[in-house]
């Protein structure tokens, strides 16, 4: 099993979610984070013009069984894309074990 962590533009979340749905990845968790990166956003507050690289992003944490890995990454790569600096990142790491609390199922079964 793999964990896919994707940090994307909030404005792209709808499309990404839809795409995940298409490939039957219907289980994940997300929350809002602040991202620091290449992208800069211009702000003005009370006459102070500043540009910040602290930008609101959405963080998706998706655990999938191995066969789903590739298509999930691809779906995100495709739909979170705008081509502008700041599209975000995807990180993949290993998950040793997974449990579904309701059924006590373990491993890939718990991800279905």
């Amino acid at each position: 099993m793999k964990k896919i962590e994707a940090i994307i533009r909030k404005s792209k979340f709808g499309e990404v979610k839809e795409a995940l749905h298409q490939i039957e990845v219907n289980f994940f968790s997300y929350w809002d984070v602040t991202g620091v990166g290449n992208e800069k956003e211009g702000h003005v507050y009370r006459g102070i013009t500043y540009s910040t690289s602290d930008i609101q992003r959405r963080f998706l944490s998706i655990v999938v069984s191995d066969p789903f890995l590739e298509r999930t990454v691809e779906a995100i790569l495709k739909t979170a894309y705008t081509g502008q600096v700041g599209d975000g990142k995807i990180f993949v790491s290993d998950i040793e074990e997974a449990y579904r609390i309701r059924t006590k199922e373990k491993g890939s079964d718990s991800l279905k």
Partner: protein, 399 residues
């Protein structure tokens, strides 16, 4: 009491109740324009301004201001005012006094010790404000005798508060992180909706502040009051619109918090002359205030490097002084533009300067003594964590 006298009394009460509500407006503006970690502290400071102001002005301040004049300088003090025929005036003046103190609260927000602030607020309401108020509004004050016009308190209330705010902000020093490498950084207000609601409430209350200062509504006063309401409204609208346009041209976008400050600047500026100028005069005063407030905030922040999170110094100090001076220009009776020459303008300048000096000197003494004794500023880590969790052991926002 005859119907006309009752009308006057009722109008004063209604106006006073509106002015009372301005405390909520100030609180919301200050809360909204600062960070969430200090919001509870700001509530407490404003709330105490009102409580201490109400008690202190009754216990002492009112007679210091309106008592029999001692040398045109100060009223004869008397404890615990209790004159059954004059309670409506006590009320109206009490809510004014509370306003003057509250102005300071915003400028020193986010780093000032609560106990220190409370002491300052008390001295402000029973000594600093009533004495200079005496000069202008008691009838025998030396500025009254000179012919100084400050109808509802651009100088008496707002400038005094604004200059004390300036002194306070300087003595206390800027918030950590406000100025780094000689550059001014933005420290964002945490809830501009609260800020906007506060401005609406202040604008509302200002109809009482200015309209009530006629201290009557019967007979000839009726049309005066109506005109005051109109000049007040036009100046506020013109200033807010102007401030918005200025920021749009100057920073590329219509700035929300500056526009809100613009409305307040217009209200402060018209306060002195609301009864003396025409609607057109009010409109122009508003435009001037809208321009001045934006550049003044900019200047104080970036050039003077005085950290005033809510813009109190510019809104109340600078525009209070400006509005008072502009009476000498726009007063339909005696103003420069209406053929009155420079006399009135000169008198206005004397009043603005002398009260300014008074406010700066006295509040400097108070803040300085407090700094050397109990201290004015919270420890660094308290400031970083937020005043709420240290000074009040709680957060205002929870789940």
């Amino acid at each position: 009491m005859d119907a006309n006298a009752v009308l006057d009394l009722m109008w004063i009460l209604v106006a006073g109740i509106l002015v009372f509500f301005m405390q909520a407006g100030f609180t919301l503006v200050e809360v909204g324009f600062t960070r969430s970690k200090n919001a509870g502290n700001i509530v407490m400071k404003n709330f105490m301004d009102l409580c201490i102001g109400s008690l202190g002005f009754w216990a002492l301040g009112y007679t210091v201001m309106y008592g029999e004049s001692i040398g045109s300088f100060i009223g004869k003090p008397n404890l615990f005012y209790d004159n059954a025929e004059d309670m409506h005036n006590l009320f109206f003046q009490t809510v004014f006094a509370a306003t003057a103190a509250t102005i300071v609260s915003g400028a020193v927000a986010g780093r000032t010790k609560f106990s220190t602030y409370i002491i300052f607020s008390f001295i402000m309401t029973v000594i600093i404000y009533p004495i200079s108020g005496h000069w202008v509004w008691q009838g025998d004050g030396w500025l009254t005798q000179l012919g100084f016009i400050d109808f509802a308190g651009s100088t008496v209330v707002h400038s005094v508060g604004g200059w004390a705010a300036l002194v306070g902000a300087i003595v206390v020093g800027p918030r950590i992180g406000k100025y780094t490498d000689g550059k001014s950084n933005a420290i964002l207000g945490h809830n501009l909706i609260f800020g906007a609601l506060g401005v609406f409430i202040l604008w509302l209350g200002w109809f009482g502040f200015n309209g009530g200062s006629e201290l009557a509504i019967s007979g000839d006063s009726a049309n005066n009051v109506s005109r005051i309401i109109i000049t007040t409204n036009l100046a506020a609208a013109a200033a807010a619109l102007t401030a918005m346009i200025v920021t749009w041209l100057y920073y590329g976008r219509p700035d929300i918090s500056m526009t809100l400050n613009g409305a307040l600047a217009g209200l402060v500026a018209i306060t002195a002359g609301c009864a003396a100028v025409s609607p057109m005069g009010a409109f122009i005063i508003g435009i001037i205030a809208g321009v001045v407030v934006v550049f003044s905030i900019d200047f104080i922040d970036k050039k003077l490097k005085v950290d005033d999170p809510v813009g109190a110094i510019s809104v109340h100090g600078v525009n209070g002084a400006l509005g008072t001076l502009l009476v000498g220009v726009f007063a339909t009776d005696g103003g420069l533009l209406y053929g009155g020459g420079f006399t009135q303008l000169g008198v206005q300048a004397i009043g603005v300067v002398s009260i300014g000096v008074w406010a700066v000197v006295t509040s400097f003494i108070v803040f300085y003594v407090l700094k050397k004794t109990i201290g004015v500023r919270v420890p660094k880590e308290e400031e970083i964590d937020g005043l709420d969790i240290h000074e009040h052991k709680t957060n205002v926002y929870n789940d």
